[in-house]
Amino acid sequence: MREQTETAVTDAPDVAMRDASAPARDTRPPRRARGGRRLATWLWGLAGIVAIALIWEVYKLLGPADGVVIGGARVLPRTTDLAMPHVWDMAGRLAEPVTRSASAQPLWLVIVLAALTTLGIAAAGWLVGLVVGVGLALVMQRWRIAEWGLLPWIVLSQTVPLIAFAPVVKSWGSRVEIGAFEWQDWMSVALIASYLAFFPIAVGALKGLQSPDVIHEELMQTYAAGYWQTLVKLRFPAAVPYLLPALRLGAANAVVGAVVAEVSTGLQGGIGRILIQFAGQASGDPAKAWGPIFGAVVLGLVAAGSVALLGVILKNYRRTEEAA
């Protein structure tokens, strides 16, 4: 999942840059070629998974049972079935029931249900992060002084490891009670997810809102367009190419935040919880512990993928005016 976040990070400026320097007209390949490229992307993804599985198995076959130890530190893992179960064992375990009891659901179903719970919490966190992030960006765009005053704090906020304080956040939450509203434990998790999600969104949205060319801003001025009209007709559309990667990054962050916060607050029902639970059973059932890990990876992909879908809907906003 770290991996996932990292690729998204490097992706963000890349996309923005590609959009800004988009070459002359109609470089989009014809439809069929585009479909072919999409297929190729999937094939490469599949090939990557196969390659990882292959490396895993080859190392397991050839590597020393006690791993590779250099200067007292183990740089490569043990190759025992306990540390590295066979790929097919891990996959096969998914189809078997969770426990030995007769009424037990299959492992994959448990994981999917848990993942959906976590996805819901992460989505709530992402939405809060979206509102807060875009709100902050709007304030910073509107008032220069707010940018100077706020941006350093926003950056600083990410150096505070709120995840580490997850239990504290939970206990704060438990004291919140406004009328009929009562703070639920999952809200603490969503809050932490939003804390991680808002940051890239705020930064990306600010950059996007500031991105319109002077000529376009002046055009709006000649139309005597007010702040809100300029915002709706110019700034938001211009911000889309910057917002999309930021939203994707925010989604990945929200998932990481939700999973880790579930673990540290001990919230039931999510994938973080079963991750810990099954890891505890790993000595007896090593393949089972890997199930939730795969679940978490897929979860991150689904979250980032949903945002990519948003990009398809908004594709016209990713066009640039050609430099004739």
């Binding site: 988009a22 007209r25 709006m220 000649t222 139309y223 007709k233 050609e322």
Partner: protein
């Protein structure tokens, strides 16, 4: 080919259009930069009558764009007075008295051609049916009816420029400000657009302030050509064109370009540009083709 006309323009005979479109008195513009003052304009006096076509010509950096930006209220003069239809420039902008086309097309890339032309109408609350028919009419006029649903990145530079011109005309302004709008066009399209612009301005009775680097273009289009000199930007001379304003302006056709009077006017403007001396080789910054 026609009777002489007085330098202040001859279209003031319309009863409803007696206030000049643009009045500039003693305007200075100084830019404060890190490396000191830049005197972009110095004591500019210029009156553009309603319905009159005035071109600004002069070497690069003489302040043509700056003057146009002052009229459009995108910048403020350092000294002097400026009025547009008798109002302050700011009020004129708020009242949408002018349409403007910049040197770059400046289309919004996420909007279609039709969407770009519709933008000012949309901002000013024109109902969608009226908007659609107006947009269709404008696109027809600039010859882009078949491209209504394309996006700017699918158009050539010249086509984009035509969209920008259609957009400037969308609200039938009484004053058109155009900063080298035909710079990106090929010679053929350029001549066609010139003829078109003459027709439009005659039809709508709009005053036009037109910045160009091309002497023949200025001569062909204008009632008067304002020749400017650089550092500091000043008006060197205002050359009245005797190519028949009034009704004949609408009849400016391609033949005009071949006529004797046309070449005389070109020569007159060239000499004004070179400070009255006979034109030698090496005109700086101005096309003389």
């Amino acid at each position: 080919m026609s009777e002489p006309q007085d330098a202040s323009g001859s279209r003031q005979d319309r009863p409803t259009q007696t206030t000049p479109a643009v009045e500039v008195h003693g305007v200075d513009k100084v830019f404060e930069t890190r490396s000191g003052h830049v005197q972009a304009l110095e004591s500019i006096d210029l009156t553009v009558a309603a319905g009159e076509f005035v071109s600004l010509i002069g070497p690069s950096g003489c302040g043509k764009s700056t003057l146009m930006r002052l009229v459009a209220d995108l910048d403020e003069p350092t000294a002097g007075d400026l009025a547009v239809f008798g109002k302050s420039a700011r009020q004129a902008r708020l009242d949408q008295e002018y349409g403007i086309a910049f040197q770059q097309a400046g289309l919004l890339p996420w909007r279609t051609v039709a969407g770009n032309v519709a933008l000012p109408l949309e901002l000013h609350g024109v109902a969608s049916a009226a908007r659609a028919s107006r947009v269709a009419e404008l696109l027809d006029m600039v010859g882009l009816a078949d491209f209504a649903d394309r996006h700017p990145d699918q158009l050539s530079g010249g086509m984009q420029q035509r969209v920008a011109i259609a957009r400037a005309l969308a609200e039938q302004p009484r004053l058109l400000l155009m900063d080298e709008p035909f710079g990106a066009l090929d010679e053929m399209t350029r001549e066609k657009m010139q003829t078109e612009l003459v027709r439009i301005s005659a039809e709508t009775g709009a005053a036009v302030v037109f910045v160009t680097h091309s002497i023949p273009e200025a001569v062909f289009l204008s009632d008067r050509v304002v020749v400017m000199s650089p550092r500091p930007g000043r008006i060197r001379e205002i050359v009245p064109m005797r190519l028949g304003a009034e009704a004949e302006r609408a009849e400016r056709t391609e033949e005009l370009r071949e006529e004797r009077a046309f070449f005389d006017m070109v020569t007159a403007v060239r000499e004004a540009l070179h400070g009255g001396s006979p034109v030698g080789a090496g005109a700086r910054g101005v096309e003389t083709r």
